[in-house]
C-alpha cells in the first residue's frame, strides 16, 4: 500500500462496453477513477477510486493505493485529518467522513511491489 494525493480524476458515468467490461454484482454503477501521485516518488498511478460519495472527489485529496487482482484501487487515507485539511480544494477536511469507509486497513503491501507491477505494464502503441 502507498499513500498519495489525487492528481486528477473523472467519473465513468455510463457502462463501458461488455466485453471486456465485467459489471459488479447488481449491475453497473458510476465509479470514479484517477491518478494518485505517490508521496516521495511523485509518480502518478492509475487507480479505481473507492470513495463513498462521487461528489466529494477532488484533486488534492489524500488516498491510499493498493494493488488488487485487477487495476490498483485507491481509498481515502484513514485518519490524519490535518493532512487532508491542508490539501487544496473545497473538499479539504472530508477525511473524517471517510474514516468509516476506510475502517479496515487493507493487508500490508509495501509500495515497491505495487510500483513494480504497474511498471511491468507500459502503455503500448495503437492506432488513432
Amino acid at each position: 500500500m502507498a499513500d498519495g494525493t489525487l492528481w486528477t480524476w473523472t467519473v465513468q458515468r455510463f457502462a463501458p462496453k461488455s466485453p471486456p467490461y465485467v459489471a459488479p454484482e447488481g449491475g453497473f454503477r458510476p465509479f470514479a477513477l484517477g491518478y494518485v501521485e505517490l508521496d516521495g516518488e511523485g509518480v502518478r498511478v492509475a487507480a479505481v477510486l473507492d470513495v463513498p460519495d462521487l461528489d466529494d472527489v477532488h484533486i488534492g485529496m489524500r488516498l491510499s493505493v493498493k494493488a488488487s487482482a485487477g487495476v490498483p484501487r485507491a481509498r481515502p487515507c484513514p485518519a490524519n485529518p490535518s493532512a487532508t485539511a491542508a490539501a487544496e480544494g473545497p473538499g479539504g477536511g472530508t477525511a473524517a467522513r471517510y474514516e468509516g469507509a476506510a475502517a479496515a486497513p487493507p493487508p500490508g503491501l509495501s509500495p515497491a511491489p505495487l510500483i513494480e507491477r504497474v511498471r511491468q505494464t507500459p502503455p503500448g502503441p495503437v492506432a488513432s
Binding site: R13, P16, F31, V48, I59, V71, G124
Partner: protein
C-alpha cells in the same frame, strides 16, 4: 531546398452516407485533381491510407492503372500528416513532381473498441472498465482546469463555436447550432466533459495534390513545413497505467515547435488555425501547447471571442472534429483542406475576413503522436 505547394485540395461531405470509405477517397482525389487542373496521368506518386476502410493502393483500380508507386500509410490520427510528409519528401528528393496525399475512413456508430492486449495492458484494464478513451480526455482537462483556472463554461463555449462553424460548412456532419447551455446539459460522459463536447467516429475523405513550386499552377498555397512527432518520456497519454513524476512533456508542443522552426515563422505570425478538438478540452489545451497563448489565458481569450471566425485568432473555422466527426484517416487532411480554402479566400460563409495569409494545422492522437503543418499564401 525545393519549395512544395498544394495546388489542389478537396474533401467529401462527412455526413453519414451510403458511400464506402473507398468511394469517398476516389471522389476526393478526383475533385482535388480537378481543382488543380490536372489529371491522374500527371501524378507521379501517391501516399495515403485509412484506419478502418481499406488500403489506399487499391484505389488505382478506380483512378487509373498508370503504374505509379502508391504507398499505404497507417499511422492513426497522423495518417494524413504522415502521407503529407511522405509527399513532401518525394517531391524534394526528385522522386516525383506531382504527388497525391489522401486520407479516408468510415467508422460505424460507436466505433473504436480498444482491447487491453493490443495496448500491452493486463486484461484487468478492460474488466475493470478502464478501456474507455473518453476517460483520458476527461482526466487531462480536469487537471488542466485545476492548474490554470479554466471553467466548464469555457468548455461549453468551445463546442458552441464548433457547431456554429459547422452550420456554415456545407461538408460538415453536424450542421445545427447548439447553445452552450444545451451543451452543458447534454449529460455528463466523463467529468468534466458532457456528451455534446465530444466528436464522434464518422466518415469521409480528403485529398490534396502537391507539387514542386517550379510547376506552374493556378492557385497554389505554399506548404512551409509538415512535421510528425511521437511522444517523449513524461507525457500523459490514453491508457497509461502510470504517468512519470514532474512536469508533463507534450508531443503537440514538440511537433508545433518543429513545424514553426522549419517554416521560419512563429505562432504570432499565424492568421488562421486548425487544432485537434477530439473534445472541447483538447482545443483549450492545444491552444497553449502549440504556442498560441500561455496556459490559462484561454479562459479570457475564448470568452472574448478571440477564436471565433471574426476574432483575432480564428480556430477550427470548419467546426473541427466536433462538427465534422472523426474519420481517423481523413481528419488531419481535413484541417489542411480548410486552411488551403481560407488562404485562397474560398471558404464561403465561414471565410476569415482580412485575407489570412498564414495558417497552421495540428493533429494529436493516441498513443502520443502529433502532426503539424504551416501553410502560407
Amino acid at each position: 531546398m525545393t519549395g512544395v505547394v498544394i495546388c489542389g485540395a478537396a474533401r467529401t461531405s462527412f455526413a453519414r452516407s451510403e458511400r464506402t470509405g473507398r468511394e469517398h477517397a476516389v471522389a476526393a482525389i478526383t475533385a482535388a485533381l480537378a481543382d488543380a487542373g490536372m489529371d491522374w496521368a500527371r501524378v507521379g506518386a501517391a501516399f495515403g491510407g485509412s484506419d478502418a476502410a481499406g488500403l489506399a493502393d487499391t484505389l488505382v483500380a478506380d483512378l487509373g492503372l498508370t503504374g505509379i508507386p502508391f504507398v499505404n500509410v497507417k499511422n492513426g490520427c497522423a495518417t494524413g500528416g504522415s502521407a503529407l510528409v511522405s509527399a513532401v519528401n518525394a517531391i524534394r528528393s526528385g522522386m516525383a513532381e506531382v504527388v497525391v496525399a489522401v486520407g479516408f475512413d468510415k467508422h460505424p456508430r460507436g466505433a473504436f473498441d480498444p482491447r487491453p492486449e493490443d495496448w500491452g495492458l493486463d486484461d484487468a484494464y478492460g474488466r475493470d472498465g478502464l478501456m474507455v478513451t473518453t476517460q483520458f480526455f476527461g482526466m487531462k482537462i480536469q487537471r488542466y482546469m485545476h492548474d490554470h483556472g479554466i471553467t466548464p463554461w469555457t468548455l461549453a463555449l468551445v463546442a458552441e463555436k464548433a457547431y456554429r462553424n459547422g452550420s456554415l460548412t456545407p461538408e460538415a456532419w453536424r450542421r445545427k447550432e447548439v447553445s452552450a447551455d444545451e451543451i452543458l446539459a447534454s449529460g455528463m460522459v466523463n467529468d468534466p466533459l458532457t456528451r455534446f463536447m465530444f466528436c464522434s467516429p464518422g466518415e469521409g475523405a480528403v485529398a490534396v495534390v502537391l507539387c514542386s513550386s517550379s510547376v506552374t499552377t493556378r492557385d497554389p498555397v505554399a506548404l512551409r513545413s509538415a512535421v510528425v512527432r511521437t511522444r517523449r518520456a513524461g507525457s500523459f497519454e490514453v491508457f497509461s497505467p502510470l504517468v512519470d513524476a514532474g512536469p508533463l512533456t507534450s508531443v503537440s508542443r514538440d511537433a508545433a515547435r518543429a513545424a514553426f522552426e522549419q517554416a521560419s515563422l512563429g505562432p504570432s505570425d499565424v492568421d488562421v488555425v486548425q487544432l485537434q478538438d477530439t473534445e472541447s478540452g483538447a482545443e483549450v489545451m492545444h491552444l497553449a501547447e502549440c504556442g498560441f497563448c500561455e496556459d490559462g489565458e484561454q479562459e479570457k481569450l475564448i470568452a472574448a471571442g478571440a477564436t471565433e471566425i471574426g476574432g483575432t485568432l480564428p480556430v477550427n473555422t470548419d467546426g473541427g472534429c466536433i462538427a465534422n466527426g472523426e474519420p481517423i484517416g481523413a481528419s488531419g487532411l481535413r484541417q489542411v483542406y480548410e486552411i488551403v480554402q481560407q488562404l485562397r479566400g474560398r471558404a464561403g460563409a465561414r471565410q476569415v475576413p482580412g485575407r489570412p495569409r498564414i495558417g497552421f494545422t495540428h493533429v494529436y492522437g493516441a498513443p502520443g503522436v502529433s502532426a503539424c503543418t504551416v501553410l502560407s499564401r
